[in-house]
């Protein structure tokens, strides 16, 4: 589905069914240098099980036009604008990595709209090492390979995503390369800089009025579980789910566990 947001075409995958704003809505937000397709399995399931789905491509990513936005706050405002254009009155936000910060900030800024927040592969502060930032700025392919290797816990994933026969790490690498080719701007560097600079996490957590869940990979090297500790301490009522045999690419490495966890949380929060 395409809409015009702040003057630019914004794309959101709707899970293979038509979008109906009257249904409970789940919004999926990808991480740095990714697009909607990282949620392929989870979103199709939601869309065919009672939810309207918007898996957005953030500005400058995938099919959405415009430059990548430079701060988590700006991305949260963009997301609120998109929800307004789509006619979404209330929704659950599900964000991965950088997307989890956008979900958190959006929930704090629009408490009347957000009925639940799922933070998948999150950390706060989400500091990016200087080596990775420099690579993203000066040697994007090197940054892609660093992130790709650190994001996967093993050499094979079963079941593979989006289906048997797909080589998960190969697909992840190509997707990041695709994002690079599609936009001459330094998308990766802009995304990482936004993560690195974000300082509103604790305030956003304190302002949160809806249920929250943390979904964390036990072998995550990008956002290790302990790096979510400060946010978890600010949200004592939040559920924390730790997933075995899983790195940072949770949706691809353990698609069923991530889906089942998110669906259970979303159904409960949407009531």
């Amino acid at each position: 589905m395409e809409q015009l947001v702040n003057g630019y075409r914004a794309y959101a995958y709707i899970g293979g069914k038509s979008f109906d704003a009257a249904l409970p809505t789940a919004v999926f937000i990808h991480g740095a240098q990714n697009d909607h397709s990282v949620w392929a399995l989870q979103t199709r399931y939601f869309a065919h099980h009672g939810f309207s789905v918007l898996a957005v491509d953030l500005p400058g990513h995938g099919r959405s036009e415009g430059e990548p936005l430079e701060s988590v706050e700006a991305l949260a405002d963009w997301l609120r604008a998109l929800l307004d254009v789509a006619g979404v009155r209330t929704t659950i936000l599900i964000g991965h990595s950088m997307g989890s910060l956008i979900a958190l900030e959006t929930a704090a800024r629009a408490p009347e709209k957000i009925k639940g927040v799922a933070l998948v592969g999150t950390a706060y502060p989400m500091k990016v090492s200087s080596a990775l930032l420099e690579a993203a700025r000066d040697h994007e392919q090197r940054a892609i390979d660093m992130v790709n290797i650190w994001s996967h816990s093993g050499i094979a994933q079963k079941p593979s995503a989006p289906g048997p026969g797909f080589y998960v790490q190969g697909g992840s690498r190509r997707l990041m390369q695709h994002i690079s080719r599609g936009n001459p701007a330094k998308v990766f560097y802009t995304d990482f800089s936004a993560c690195n600079a974000y300082e509103g996490g604790e305030a956003a957590a304190a302002a949160l009025q809806c249920p929250a869940i943390f979904v964390l990979g036990k072998k995550d090297m990008m956002t290790p579980m302990k790096a979510a500790g400060s946010l978890i301490s600010k949200l004592p009522a939040a559920e924390v789910v730790q997933i075995d045999a899983c790195g940072h690419a949770l949706m691809a490495e353990q698609p069923d566990q991530v889906l089942d966890t998110l669906f259970r949380f979303t159904c409960a929060s949407a009531k």
Binding site: R44, P162, G163, R174, P255
Partner: protein
């Protein structure tokens, strides 16, 4: 901080796509000889059918043993997905049928395996897909024969029978300039000798029957998607590839390019091509090919070193008229081979001995280590004499037009002791010249 690194080729050859069996702990990949797989409940069944969950339903669509092979070849090639099919011919057909239909055009090298030539030149033509065959070394021919209805450029990494080395970088650039993918048959080179995606190819297929299996025990094919070609951008600019970028009625209106940004080709190839054409690989064959791949680099190094010894021997033999191998400076693609194939130009090549068809027959019938048969890529050394077998009805003049002489032999060099192979060839060459 040092950069992290990906697993190397040999590690991927042994581990990619495979984990210890969760049910039994078996370390070797089990052969799942099961046509179908039990659903947890009705919702699980529906979600598998609708691509909401990953898993196996029916072995014509996917199978756990085949999936290991598919993911392993994708990893070795540096691609995003693999599909195991019944043969190399089935892989070529699936690759074409996924993006081409009646009214489509294929631009192909004329230096192809005979089976590929038959499929393109006769059989696909019967279904409305036309092919233009060109000299793969002629870059102007690649450029000038692209039509509005062309869907793919296609060639072999090492052409048949003259081992034309495909200038993948240049042909891929021509294809991409016209918003077209390049598909290559990489059977003779395997990912150990050459990774076509690194040079710009978009789709690769193998007759896995050959070096990947490596022991002449299983027929199979593998189609690999590089994830490199932007199907949506090509559709936006040219209207081609609606198969991937418009709703597909045959799968609930799915738009494959929206489902997967980088692998819509593989989604459709499996969800339509395997489902409907049904040229699936047996899990037993998948296991056999996996066993072969585990030792691919070791075997290819030996295949190449034996071949180099034999080429050196043949070049110096007085009964030999010519040897065609791209590592020889007189081969027209010598320079390109040095660049693309530093690990070697494979183990299949042709040479021509002095004499007529009868001399060729005497040669073949005198060999005892080389087996006279119609295959390549076995651990055992193989030989075929085209003028008395595959081309036995073809008049001499027509033979020569296709680059074959009466004394031309094709060898597939195996893993035996090189000295024994050379001894065998010596015997054959001596016999060939008797009565000459």
């Amino acid at each position: 901080m040092s950069d992290p690194r990906y697993p190397g080729f040999d590690t991927l050859s042994l581990h990619a796509g495979s984990t210890p069996d969760p049910a039994t702990g078996a370390r070797a990949t089990p052969i799942y000889l099961s046509t179908s797989f039990v659903f947890r409940d009705s919702d699980h069944a529906a979600s598998l059918f609708n691509m909401e969950r990953s898993g196996h339903v029916y072995s014509r669509i996917s199978n756990p043993t085949n999936a290991v092979l598919e993911e392993r070849i994708a990893a070795l090639e540096g691609g995003v997905a693999g599909i195991a099919v019944a043969s190399g011919q089935a892989a070529l057909h699936l690759g074409l049928a996924t993006i081409a239909g009646a009214g489509s055009h294929v631009l192909a090298s004329r230096a192809l395996y005979g089976g590929s030539q038959n499929l393109l030149g006769y059989t696909m033509k019967r279904f409305g897909i036309e092919t233009t065959f060109i000299n793969p070394r002629d870059m102007n021919a690649w450029r000038s024969n692209i039509r509005p209805n062309t869907k793919v450029l296609f060639a072999e990494t090492l052409g048949n029978p003259g081992l034309d080395v495909l200038d993948i970088d240049t042909v891929a650039a021509i294809a991409h300039k016209h918003h077209l993918p390049l598909m290559v048959d990489s059977t003779f080179t395997t990912p150990y000798l050459l990774r076509p995606f690194d040079h710009g190819a978009d789709l690769v297929f193998h007759s896995a029957t050959k070096f990947l299996c490596g022991h002449g025990t299983a027929v199979g094919g593998l189609l690999v998607d590089g994830g490199t070609f932007d199907w949506q951008a090509a559709y936006d600019k040219t209207g081609r590839f609606a198969e991937l970028c418009e709703p597909y009625d045959g799968f609930h209106g799915m738009v494959f390019a929206e489902e997967s940004t980088v692998a819509p080709f593989s989604l459709r190839a499996r969800r339509e091509g395997l489902r409907d054409f049904g040229a699936v690989m047996s899990p037993h064959n998948a296991f056999t090919i996996l066993q072969g791949i585990e030792t691919l680099s070791l075997r290819m190094d030996r295949h190449v070193s034996n071949t180099r010894r034999i080429v050196e021997f043949l070049v110096a033999h007085p009964a030999v008229e010519s040897v065609s191998y791209p590592e020889l400076p007189e081969h027209p693609d010598y320079q390109l081979a040095q660049k693309l194939l530093p690990r070697g130009c494979g183990a299949v090549f042709s040479f021509t001995l002095k004499g007529d068809r009868a001399a060729g027959r005497r040669f073949v019938e005198s060999l005892s280590v080389f087996s006279h048969l119609a295959n390549v890529g076995d651990a055992k050394s193989l030989v075929i004499h085209p003028a008395s077998t595959t081309h036995f009805r073809v008049p001499t003049e027509q033979l020569e037009a296709s680059g074959i002489r009466e004394g031309t032999m094709r060898l597939s060099v195996g893993l035996e002791d090189a000295d024994d192979l050379i001894e065998d060839l010596k015997r054959g060459l001596k016999a060939s010249q008797k009565g000459a």
